[in-house]
Amino acid sequence: MNNQEHILIKESSDVIRARQMGRKMTKDIGFGSADQTRLATAISELTRNIIEYAGEGICDLQIISDQNNIGLKVTVEDKGPGITDIESAMKDGYTTGGGLGAGLPGTKRLVTSFDLQSEPGHTKITIELMRRKII
């Protein structure tokens, strides 16, 4: 079992590759199907944004754990135009891309932690889905 994966996001088939990898890794650490689907869906939203807004970027997946919890940390990064209005981007129904604008706020609700940093030329979103270790 690999603890870390690095996926280049350039075309829409990479979105599928990334979310399938996320599902596999969460399955490997014993997450149930609901959590597998939550994480795969979150990865799908974030990597699609890369293609739609930046053209290309990367998706890093890493299994992380501490004393009590285990989970997956996913980082997506691109060199696109950046999100100028982060506050609006996190509101339901806001979109600049012709979608319904549920992507980012919807994704945030699926995961344990969500961090977004963006400036022109660099956007980085980090999510984690953590669950208590079964003793």
Binding site: V15, T37, G99, G106, T107, L110
Partner: protein, 132 residues
């Protein structure tokens, strides 16, 4: 990757068996529209049992497809959504709006037949009023 659409009497039956890319999803939408129009089907069942991820994009495509098909006068039922997919859609604040869904293909076919006969009888009543 094409999603096959089968004709069964006056009903169309299609099952999405693989993860569709965004382009595949739009092609599927176009194929459904063309087949509905070409075959003059009264109803279509879209089975999504094999889809383990329905994100905001795919839910929009399914929703749009169902609404477009209904504009053509054809009834739609989406069947077989995985429980974890339903859970994720609701948590994200998405759902399939105005779309009939069923647990499985069996119940979906039954629901579709009901929708078709209901719309047939509405038409018959409207036709009657019109003649008077």
């Amino acid at each position: 990757m094409k999603v096959p659409i089968l004709k069964l009497k006056d009903i169309l039956l299609t099952s999405i068996q693989i993860d569709l890319t965004d382009e595949d999803a739009i092609e599927f939408q176009n194929d459904v529209m063309q087949q509905v129009s070409r075959t003059e089907a009264k109803g279509i069942v879209i089975d999504i049992t094999a889809l383990d991820v329905v994100d905001s994009y795919m839910s929009r495509v399914l929703n749009d497809t169902a609404n477009m098909v209904r504009l053509l006068g054809c009834e739609v039922v989406i069947t077989g959504m995985q429980p974890s997919v339903a859970l994720t859609l609701i948590e994200m604040g998405r759902e399939l709006i105005n779309v009939e869904t069923s647990l499985n293909l069996d119940q979906g076919m039954e629901k579709l037949q009901q929708l078709i006969s209901a719309s047939d009888s509405t038409r018959a009543v409207k036709g009657g009023e019109y003649n008077e």
